[in-house]
């Protein structure tokens, strides 16, 4: 190959390589460009929606200065079914600082309660309507500071009712202290306590006391233990054996103290043993299995089920029924009462559980509290009759005054 030909060949080769390189570069750019363009198009397509309007921030009434209520009119584009608004975001400026998002709410929301405000701080709020990828912020509120109220006047009727019922209880306790005899109706379940203890004594079998499965912070457990205090005195007098399996440690210590002091009062401290009250387990059905086992093995003549019971009520009561024990039960859980009524010999229904200790003590001041309770019941009955009549007449004949009376009663007795 001559030098001239060689030069021409080199030029052609280099040119070809350059063309190929340029072509491949162009091709690679062509492949990348459509994606980039498409992505840009998607990012930049923003559907505009109207921002929420009429945003108002108000101090929450009757609190400790920890709450501010917000209310707004949702975006006019927040329509049912075809809404492009996916939700709302609440922004808050604390003491003139930067706006911070404090909550996200679903579409159609029109109010929010900020429960994390602090006394002495000033806040400015705004609400943004959210779409896919954009926010449309409302005008901010006026600056607002939460205020503390010292008395919750929204509970004035509750206070009044508590005052009347509590006052009646205290009044009758005082009347009874002065020696006035008060009549209290007979409660069959409590009249049977002595017989039930006597039966166990005669049969030479133990008494089983089950105080429910709740702890000492439940008033039903306390009621059950106060009854235990009365019953254990009779048991100590009769020198009968008592066994109390519990599912809470604190109930165990309280139960031991009560039974121990009853044995001391009866002059038989030597007969008392810590083994009379035994902790089983906190687990509901583990406790039930253990107590059922005790029932079947020991065959107690008498069983007391007094306290807070749940699903285990019928399992325990039916096992007691199966072994032929006389059973006295009581709870303040309405859902469990039918089970006890079906399976036990005597049932203390709701309030009777709380009245039992006072009833068994026979002390005038304790019985006085029951009379005070009756005043509350009488008031409730009168209000119920008035309310039922007013609702019936108001609805049937559309009498405005009756409907107003119903509204007033609802305001007074509503707890919400």
């Amino acid at each position: 190959m001559t030098p001239t030909r060689l030069h021409i060949f080199r030029v052609i080769s280099i040119s070809t390589i350059c063309v190929l390189l340029l072509a491949s570069l162009a091709l690679s750019q062509d492949e990348a460009t459509p994606t980039t363009n498409l992505s840009t198009e998607i990012d930049t397509v923003i559907i505009e929606v109207a921002a929420p309007t009429s945003l108002i921030a108000t101090d929450h009434k009757y609190d400790n200065g920890e709450r501010i209520n917000l209310q707004w009119v949702p975006s006019i584009d927040d329509l049912p079914g075809i809404s492009t608004v996916v939700g709302y975001r609440i922004y808050r400026q604390d003491d003139g600082g930067a706006a911070e998002a404090i909550a996200d709410l679903p579409a159609k929301a029109n109010h929010y309660r900020d429960e994390n405000t602090e006394l002495g701080h000033t806040y400015i709020y705004s609400v943004a309507a959210l779409t896919d990828g954009a926010e449309f912020v409302s005008n901010p509120t006026e600056s607002i500071s939460p205020e503390r109220e010292w008395i919750d006047f929204s509970k004035r009727y509750l206070f009044l009712i508590a005052l009347i019922v509590g006052g009646a209880v205290i009044y009758f306790i005082e009347i009874a202290r002065r020696g006035k005899k008060l009549f209290v109706r007979k409660i069959a379940g409590l009249e049977a306590v002595d017989d039930a203890v006597g039966r166990a004594t005669e049969m030479g079998r133990p008494i089983l006391f089950i105080p429910g499965i709740q702890d000492m912070d439940d008033v039903q457990t306390l009621a059950g233990l106060t009854i235990l205090g009365r019953i254990s005195k009779t048991i100590a007098d009769y020198d009968t054996e008592i066994f109390m399996p519990v599912s809470r440690s604190l109930v165990m210590t309280a139960g031991r103290e009560i039974i121990k002091s009853s044995y001391q009062t009866a002059g038989r401290p030597d007969k008392y043993s810590d083994d009379m009250v035994t902790y089983i387990t906190d687990e509901q059905f583990g406790y039930v299995a253990a107590v059922d086992g005790i029932m079947v093995r020991e065959k107690p003549a008498t069983i007391f089920l007094l306290g807070a019971f749940f699903a285990e009520s019928l399992i325990l009561a039916e096992t007691g029924n199966y072994i032929g024990a006389i059973q006295i039960a009581g709870t303040a859980r309405p859902a469990q009462l039918p089970f006890f009524i079906a399976a036990c010999d005597f049932t203390l229904i709701g309030e009777e559980l709380f009245a039992a200790s006072a009833y068994l003590s026979g002390e005038p001041k304790q019985l006085g509290s029951l009379k005070g309770q009756d005043v509350g019941k009488a008031i409730a009955m009168v209000i119920l009759v008035i309310g039922a009549l007013a609702t019936t007449i108001g609805t049937a004949w559309n009498i405005a005054s009756m409907n107003s009376l119903v509204d007033i009663l609802k305001t007074i007795f509503s707890t919400s």
């Binding site: 919750d152 165990m252 039930v288 399992i315 309405p334 304790q366 019941k377």
Partner: protein
């Protein structure tokens, strides 16, 4: 003094918590006192666990009846305590949550305790059947009414109730068994339950006042007038 201090604490805390309902700055006090209770209850748990071990060890030593069950109880108690405290098998190690998935403690709970509890709960169905059989006997007028009401509700809650009375025209739909069941539940049952609840609420008020004022002292043990 042994009784005066608890009585004073009961009066002081009880009164304070009544007022906390009506005074907003005190509204969280109730929750705080509940936390105090929880802390005390945790410490008291040691007493319960100690008692459990003491009772079952005593049973074993004296070879009391059914002492074999005590072995099972003590092994179960010891094993759960061991795997729980040392977090055996816990994927996150000793610092992780004791109930983390995969930990032996959680596995024991899922595959032993839970099935056992479910088994006990399942017994309820049979007990309901036996209790219902006794309760719904038409012994007298009240029991007969109860039986009829129970029958209507039972049928009304099953497809059979709808099937039996589907032919009744809409104008007389009240007489369709499901509607009658709803009526019994919403009228008689609800009224009865509310009456009981009102009584319970008033009973709680009276009982609480007796405790706060120190009129009721039996729960403290000892002489009533002490």
């Amino acid at each position: 003094m042994k009784r005066q201090i608890p009585l004073f604490i009961t009066f002081f805390v009880g009164t304070l918590l009544i007022f906390s309902v009506f005074i907003p700055p005190m509204e969280t006090w109730g929750e705080n006192f509940t936390l105090f209770f929880d802390i005390i209850a945790v410490f008291a748990f040691f007493l319960g666990a100690g008692n459990l071990v003491r009772v079952h060890v005593g049973k074993l030593k004296k070879r009391k009846a059914d002492w074999g069950f005590s072995i099972v109880t003590l092994i179960g108690f010891g094993f759960m305590l061991f795997v729980g405290l040392l977090k055996i098998g816990n994927p996150g190690g000793i610092a992780a949550d004791v109930t983390a998935p995969g930990s032996w403690f959680q596995e024991m709970f899922n595959y032993v305790i839970n099935p056992l509890q479910s088994t006990m709960y399942a017994l309820l169905a049979f007990f309901v059947a036996s209790a219902s059989y006794r309760a719904f006997r038409a012994k007298n007028r009240e029991a007969t009414i109860l039986l009829i009401a129970a029958f209507v509700i039972l049928l009304g809650r099953t497809p059979l109730g709808m099937l039996l009375t589907a032919w009744i025209p809409d104008s007389l739909s009240f007489f369709q068994i499901p509607n009658m069941a709803v009526w019994i539940m919403n009228s008689f049952n609800l009224a009865g339950q509310r009456a009981i609840l009102i009584g319970i609420s008033l009973g709680v008020v009276a009982m609480s006042l007796r405790l706060i004022l120190g009129v009721e002292r039996t729960y403290l043990g000892g002489d009533d007038n002490g």
